[in-house]
């Protein structure tokens, strides 16, 4: 046990106290954050140019009043359409809008002329359409003599309230949850699955490389004259698992720090404040980012973290141990020939990638048979089950999955250990799967 502890310490230190670890752990989330900010900026990009727009109102329904928007200033132009076309540029306008005479209030389609030097863009088009259609609507209501309140009453806004209802004998157990809850659950599931995928790949291939290194620079023979091969492999796997946990902790810390900083700068109303505002009758714009953040925060506090977090850590440990032991076994068989290694690594990477894709499906449809059985199979469950957990799957599924995960850990560590102990001392022999199979049954 002492020796195992020594190995764990060394393997942990060499991995954590180096530049690469710093780069991967600290810079990856920063890079992702920076990238998503840039992406968000690009998507929401609007030109800063302010536009002065002249309006020739031949219909005379706007009564010389149109509200300016942030980037568009409207001015009524008392010239004929024909003259205006020639002079609007000279008079310092960027564009000209001509509203033709408005003959039939029963007509539902109207066209407006837009004149400019430049191509009209979608933002300008949307703003003008919105502004003018609202005014035309108001005008129609008035000129047709309709009751404004009656028309308001026609508005229909349907929202679906999902409810899970399970009949147990005569009792009916129902749970209500909001749409946002589903979205939040999907989000958490997706993030957890993705983190698992990332960490499995980073640390799994790290184990493989370190085993290959030990074999090629021949330290391994010195090592196993002091410790058992199984101790060396276990030490590595446990250390890498600890490294993974360190990474997760750092990432959570960065996340918490980021949200705290965010809250400092952006004033997010408390959910209770929102309720009061609603009661007081003031309008809440559901598109307001701050309101959305507030609701999101509320949903996040509703999630059963006391259950999710330990489960996530359990799957994290299981997955990392299973896959790093498999990577160690392959590393021991490969030695320095990376080319040859590719064909042996493939069977390990395929289940990880498959699990990742199944996870993306599971987030959308957590109760599908594919998601269900994948979250129970131990090679997939470390990635798929965390994605399902936020949707509270039936307890028997979770228990079965955990049971098989533990069985899987035991089995794959045993299997890899059998291959590893032979592989690290085997030089110059081409390792095929048939060969690996034979190694498993070699005597000591």
């Amino acid at each position: 046990m002492d020796k195992l502890w020594l190995i764990i310490q060394r393997e942990y230190k060499t991995r954590v106290f180096n530049k690469k670890f710093f780069l991967i752990t600290i810079l990856t989330p920063l890079l992702i954050a920076a990238l998503s900010t840039v992406l968000a900026f690009i998507i929401s990009y609007q030109s800063d140019d302010k536009m002065k727009i002249a309006i020739v109102d031949e219909s005379n329904i706007f009564q010389k009043t149109i509200k300016d928007t942030k980037k568009m200033y409207f001015t009524f132009y008392s010239k004929s359409a024909k003259d205006a076309r020639q002079t609007y540029l000279k008079d310092g306008f960027d564009a000209l809008v001509i509203v033709p005479p408005f003959s039939d209030p029963n007509s539902t389609s109207h066209s407006i002329q837009y004149v400019s030097k430049k191509q009209i863009n979608i933002n300008i088009e949307n703003t003008i359409e919105r502004t003018f259609s609202k005014r035309i609507e108001d005008y129609k209501i008035k000129s047709l003599g309709l009751d404004e309140n009656l028309i308001k009453n026609l508005e229909v806004d349907i929202s679906i309230n999902p409810e899970i209802s399970v009949t147990d004998g005569n009792n009916i157990a129902s749970t209500n949850y909001s749409n946002l809850r589903t979205a939040v659950a999907s989000g958490i599931g997706g993030i957890m699955g993705f983190l698992m995928y990332l960490i499995l790949f980073i640390n799994g291939s790290n184990v493989m490389r370190s085993v290959m290194e030990e074999k090629t620079n021949r330290i391994v023979e010195v090592m196993i004259s002091s410790v058992k091969p199984m101790q060396l492999m276990l030490g590595k796997i446990i250390a890498v698992t600890a490294v993974g946990i360190t990474q997760i902790i750092i990432w959570i810390a960065i996340f918490l720090l980021a949200t705290t900083v965010f809250q400092l700068f952006v004033d997010i109303p408390q959910p209770t404040d929102l309720e009061e505002l609603k009661k007081a009758g003031s309008s809440i714009d559901p598109d307001d980012i701050r309101v959305m953040m507030s609701q999101l925060m509320h949903e996040l506090t509703q999630i059963e973290w006391w259950y999710l977090l330990p489960m996530f850590i359990l799957y994290f440990l299981g997955g990392l141990i299973i896959y790093s032991s498999l990577f160690a076994a392959v590393g021991s068989a490969v030695g320095d020939d990376i080319q040859e290694g590719q064909s042996l690594v493939l069977p390990i990477t395929i289940p990880i990638i498959l699990a990742f894709y199944i996870m993306t499906v599971a987030v959308r449809d957590p109760d599908s048979p594919l998601a269900l059985w994948s979250s129970i199979f131990p090679l997939f469950s470390p990635i798929v089950m965390p994605a399902r957990l936020a949707f509270s799957p039936p307890i028997w599924q979770v228990l079965l999955s955990v049971f098989l995960l533990i069985l899987g850990v035991w089995f794959f560590v045993w299997l890899s250990g059998r291959i590893y102990r032979v592989g690290i001392l085997m030089y110059g022999k081409k390792a095929s799967f048939k060969e690996l199979g034979k190694w498993i049954f070699y005597k000591e």
């Binding site: 620079n217 021949r218 034979k438």
Partner: protein
């Protein structure tokens, strides 16, 4: 008392027998030569002794008791193909390996410090292994092998890649350790060193023990009663014409006789005939010659 007693050990791999019923004893406190051509089964045998693998058949007694989980900490093994963790520092690395052999932190620190002082390389403590030359890292490997003061040290080609000065340095340390009671197994192809340092040897070929015993006795056993005679002046033609005489240079010959008594009679006769002699020496075969001869004969028999 034997530090090691190998008894009828067999080790089979998938399609060949690496170690085939090998037996020999190593007396405590001696330097023992484990010889054999490449692929003879030396490394397989060493791996069994160091508990890296297990024998299929037979047993090995270490200090009188069968190999067990405590044995590895009593053994220091320097493999032929050896390496160190490149990213670690010299001091840190030596302490790590010493602690894996069961030393406490303070013990390990003190002993590593002593060895670095002995080799006059204390300044290397904070050097990274990857900055060391091959010879330098070999010294570190040697220290790693012996730092926990094992009862048995196994050295596989310890001098390969070392310059003559460092070679001598290590050789001196080996002899010093032997004088302090440590037993040493020495696996090498450098026969002159075997002759110089080893008390006993075993010669292995194709997994089989083909020769074992004391170095001096083996040389005696394989002697062909050849002698070297140095004359004071030029050798008469009549002597050079005799059976079994080979001229070495103007004043010396090599001569083969049936035994020592006949040889002495021959000498007396020559001296009486007025041929003064300045030197007389029995020529024993070198271990190298015996090695080549035995392996070749063994190969012919097995083929």
């Amino acid at each position: 008392m034997n530090i090691l007693s190998v008894q009828n050990v067999v080790k089979q791999y998938a399609n060949h027998t690496a170690v085939d019923h090998i037996s020999f004893d190593i007396p405590s406190g001696t330097i023992f030569g484990l010889l054999g051509p490449n692929g003879a089964g030396k490394t397989s045998l060493i791996r069994i002794i160091t508990c890296i693998t297990k024998a299929d058949v037979g047993q090995i007694l270490f200090n009188g008791t069968p190999l067990n989980i405590n044995t590895p900490s009593e053994i220091g093994y320097m493999p032929e193909e050896r390496g160190l963790y490149k990213k670690m520092k010299v001091g840190e690395h030596l302490i790590y390996l010493a602690r894996l052999k069961g030393l406490s932190v303070t013990e390990a620190k003190a002993k590593v410090g002593n060895w670095l002082e002995k080799f006059d390389i204390t300044s290397w403590w904070n050097k990274k292994i990857e900055e060391l030359s091959k010879g330098m890292s070999q010294k570190i490997q040697f220290i790693a092998t012996v730092v926990h003061e094992p009862k048995l040290v196994i050295l596989d080609e310890p001098f390969s890649g070392l310059d003559p000065i460092n070679s001598l340095l290590i050789q001196d340390e080996i002899i010093k350790m032997q004088q302090n009671g440590t037993s040493i197994i020495f696996s090498t192809h450098r026969m002159e060193q075997v002759e110089e340092m080893c008390h006993n040897i075993v010669l292995i070929n194709k997994g089989k023990n083909i020769l074992s015993g004391e170095v001096n006795k083996i040389r005696q056993d394989f002697k062909q009663n050849a002698f070297r005679v140095d004359f004071a002046k030029e050798i008469p033609e009549s002597i050079l014409q005799e059976n079994g005489v080979i001229k070495k240079n103007n004043n010396s010959i090599q001569i083969t006789q049936n035994d020592l008594v006949t040889m002495n009679r021959w000498l007396a006769e020559k001296i009486q005939n007025g041929n003064p002699i300045t030197g007389f020496k029995e020529i024993l075969p070198t271990i190298g010659e015996i090695f080549i001869k035995q392996v070749e004969e063994n190969n012919i028999i097995t083929e």
